[in-house]
């Protein structure tokens, strides 16, 4: 969210929370994939197992919120909030356009799972443009 040289305490705390969650996610998604392949669970067990990899991702969303609350540098916070709004806007715009293509012209289905990664990607792409406006 900021370069390491000028990392604020909030940025360091963000990274200290984010990195372990992503490691847990990588392990859990691997474990759940193996479990589905080998055990082929059904019913409530399958539902419960399928949701497990979401937990670290929900944690990441909470960690992003905590960063916004803890960042004491109001300009850095403003840049990130603006980038997040771009991320939300682009994700909603993209999903609306693609959704209509799915309805009417049988475009390939995109799993809704990709909404959050798309939001993160769009937010990341927007950030340098948002920053450039304040130079």
């Amino acid at each position: 969210m900021a370069n390491a040289r000028s990392a604020s305490p909030a940025t360091r705390r963000y990274l200290a929370r984010f990195i372990p969650l992503m490691i847990v996610y990588a392990i859990v998604i691997f474990g759940v994939s193996v479990a589905f392949n080998r055990l082929q669970p059904v019913g409530p067990l399958a539902w419960a197992l399928a949701i497990v990899p979401a937990l670290p991702i929900l944690g990441v969303i909470a960690v992003m919120g905590l960063y916004l609350r803890e960042e004491a540098d109001e300009f850095q916070r403003a840049v990130l909030i603006e980038s997040m709004l771009w991320g939300i806007g682009l994700t909603l715009a993209g999903s609306t356009v693609w959704g209509l293509l799915e309805f009417y012209v049988d475009a390939p289905r995109v799993p809704v799972f990709w909404a959050f990664p798309a939001f993160c990607g769009a937010m990341g792409l927007a950030q340098p443009f948002v920053r450039r406006r304040y130079l």
Binding site: A2, S6, S8, A72, D73, E74, F75, Q76, A78, R131, R133, Y134, L135
Partner: protein, 65 residues
């Protein structure tokens, strides 16, 4: 919003990083304030005014006066 931050900083021979350290913000924040493209919140404006020992309206100019 136009402001005299750059002048006040130069008078004290402070770099952007020096001012950033004193206000506990990043250097990018000082730059965005000096270009007048980012307007500080009221608490940060007070902090800046206190640091330079001048009233807010002597540092920031909203062009309305």
């Amino acid at each position: 919003m136009k402001n005299r931050l750059k002048v006040l900083r130069a008078e004290r021979d402070w770099s952007q990083a020096d001012l950033a350290d004193r206000l506990v913000v990043s250097r990018q924040t000082i730059n965005a304030l000096e270009t007048g493209k980012y307007d500080p919140s009221l608490p940060l404006a007070f902090k800046i005014a206190r640091l330079f020992g001048q009233p807010i309206e002597a540092i920031f100019d909203d062009g309305e006066a």
